[in-house]
Amino acid sequence: MALRTTVAGLSSPEDLARALTGAMYLADDGIATAGYLSLALGKPLLLEGAPGVGKTEAAKAIAGILGRQLIRLQCFEGIDASAALYEWNYPRQMLAIRQAREGETLDIYRDDFLIERPMLTALRRPESTVLLIDEIDRSDHEFEAFLLEFLSDFSISIPERGTLRAAERPVVVLTSNRTRELHEALRRRCVYHYIAYPEPEREAQIIMMRSSAVAEGTARAVVHAIGLLRQEPLAKPPGVAEAVDWAEAATALAQAGAPWPEAFRRSLGAAIKDEEDFVHLRPRLPLIIPGLAA
């Protein structure tokens, strides 16, 4: 395979990082490298990490800088080919058969009886779409095995129509929350990156970029508190999305007249979304939120 060192005007990971920043996504070195390699090698990008670290956002940002439509396939347990690939419109086929006149030849496997699902759409229009296969760890092993054929050849077999093959390799991003281990065969077909929680400095930048109303001091206070929360044994540790929500919620309360540490505490529900976690944290709150009276 010939190497394309320039993809969509990007000739290095640094280029991609800059473009992603323009699309409101602050990428670290690792994700910029993996993203660039994925585009250049024509391989799917597999992003793993805790919920809320920005895996789906990364896919959206990549679609944004490539100027393509993002097609999202949300995985769930029991997802199968008819939800991911295509389905025939059976009622319409049945109606057409009933309405067909004697002696008329009828092709019930025409395009207009075919309902495209996300993977087929991405295969048919690879130059204008980015396919996001979200939370692949939620699907079962059967679906993962089924994905392998798609991800290695970018082809789909429809028994009634034969094999459809993508003219060029579509851009595919897979995400996983690691609730189960993915099959090695899937991992090896992808360029891989594990997204960890961002460094405090970067997280503060993300908050301020996402929400212009949040003051720098608020962003830093939130990042500091979130860092402490992530060290606690919580059922649902807060992700970056929660950090942004918390900063916005605290800002909104403060603007509505609540005094500062109190606004911060009252909006904790934007970051912590589990009753047991609340109970666990209650005695530690004065440590996590500075200035809060015990």
Binding site: M1, L3, T5, S12, P13, D29, G30, T33, A34, Y36, L37, S38, A40, L41, K43, L46, E48, A50, P51, F76, E77, G78, I79, D80, W88, Y90, P91, Q93, M94, I97, R98, A100, I108, D140, E142, N177, R178, T179, R180, E181, E184, A185, R187, R188, R189, C190, V191, Y192, H193, Y194, A196, Y197, P233, L234, A235, K236, P237, E276
Partner: protein, 370 residues
């Protein structure tokens, strides 16, 4: 083809081979991607080579420290094998995950480890004696897949009777009769065996049962469609991957090598809290049959154990606590911790022998398969 490679490329190609030797699975196509990635990135420094390696050879996050150590060893010639002075046991993590290899010890915290172990620990590593209960385990493994409790799955299958209409099959049948619908084909939900989660106490007071329980865990991993095994004493160790090795002796010695807290004290509450604090581990318990093999002699704070079991019970299908102490017919849970958690348990019964534990697990699905 390898012979024609320049010396620099030979060094690159040799790295995946080194990784395979340490339990990483690297496919030949990943080696090719690695070479292309290095070319794409410049490479201007050794860090570019490292980035290319991480992106294309895809080490799991918990393998990352070993991966970096091997990378340094290979490309920088650094001596990565940690000496005792570099990695004192106290720096090991409370939650250990089987990295698939033990040749280079890794004693570093990774992102999802939960709390660090504290307090005095009696750490010891020892070899396992193979248990002499092979026949019991063989029969157990044969029956287990059908004996586990089942739940409704999300997939459908054609059936004579069912809840919904199978349009695809109905249409194909109708075509044979010129579009006349003679009979509607039906679909029904398939059922799937529930996952099984085994939590094995390997503390000093369970010494008599530890080896046999691990051998039993090996049979469970081999037979059940979805199984997860953790050991705990003063810390928590995931041994599932080691137990996936088919040969029992090899699997058990691999697993035994991962566990660092043999025959130490027991802090069940802390171990279960650590289990629940890693969202990935906690998700293993969702809808699962949880079997705890422990005498429940808790040295830590009972409050931690009680809250952990309550949280576990909220996730799991059922929790069965099997203790060797219940071999005595007059046994009553006497420790405060066990008394407090008893209401959250589906059963608290005899875990005194492999045969009894096997029988109990086989009866969980309500069949008389045992």
């Amino acid at each position: 083809m390898i012979a024609a490679l320049p010396a620099a490329a030979r060094l690159l190609v040799a790295f995946p081979t080194l990784l395979r030797g340490h339990g990483f699975s690297v496919a030949p196509e990943q080696t090719t991607s690695f070479l292309m990635a290095v070319e794409l990135l410049g490479p201007r420094s050794i860090e570019h080579v490292r980035k290319a390696a991480v992106a294309t050879l895809a080490p799991q996050p918990e393998q990352r420290i070993l991966f970096d150590a091997l990378f340094d060893l290979h490309f920088l010639g650094a001596i990565a094998e940690p000496g005792d002075e570099d990695f004192a046991p106290d720096e090991e993590m409370a939650v250990q995950e089987d990295a698939g290899s033990r040749e280079i010890l890794v004693g570093e915290e990774v992102n999802e480890t939960g709390q660090a172990a504290t307090g005095a620990e009696a750490l010891s590593v020892r070899a396992l004696q193979p248990a002499d209960e092979t026949e019991v385990l063989r029969r157990f493994a044969r029956v287990l897949p059908t004996a586990l409790p089942r739940r409704r799955g999300y997939r459908h299958r054609g059936a004579r009777r069912g809840q919904s209409v199978d349009l695809a099959r109905s249409l194909r049948a109708a075509i044979r009769h010129d579009g006349e619908v003679m009979s509607l084909k039906k679909l029904r939900r398939v059922t799937r065996p529930r996952p099984i989660l085994l939590l094995i106490d390997i503390s000093g007071s369970m010494k008599q049962r530890s080896d046999a329980n691990l051998a039993l865990a090996h049979a469970v991993v081999q037979a059940a469609p979805r199984a997860e095994i953790f050991t705990f004493g003063t810390r928590l160790t995931r041994v599932t991957r080691a137990l996936r090795l088919r040969r029992r002796e090899q699997a058990l010695s691999e697993a035994a090598g991962l566990v660092a807290d043999w025959d130490g004290g027991t802090r069940i509450g802390d171990a279960l809290q650590a289990f629940l604090a890693v969202p990935r581990f906690a998700s293993y318990a969702r809808g699962a049959v949880v079997v705890v093999l422990s005498d429940g002699l808790e040295r830590g704070d009972p409050a931690a154990l009680v809250s952990a079991v309550a949280r576990l019970a909220a996730r799991a299908h059922r929790i069965d606590w099997l203790t060797p102490l219940a071999a005595d017919p007059g046994y009553r849970p006497e420790t405060e911790a066990l008394r407090l958690i008893a209401p959250a348990l589906a059963s608290l019964s005899n875990g005194g022998s492999t045969a009894r534990i096997c029988r109990h697990i086989l009866l969980l699905g309500g069949s008389a398969a045992a």
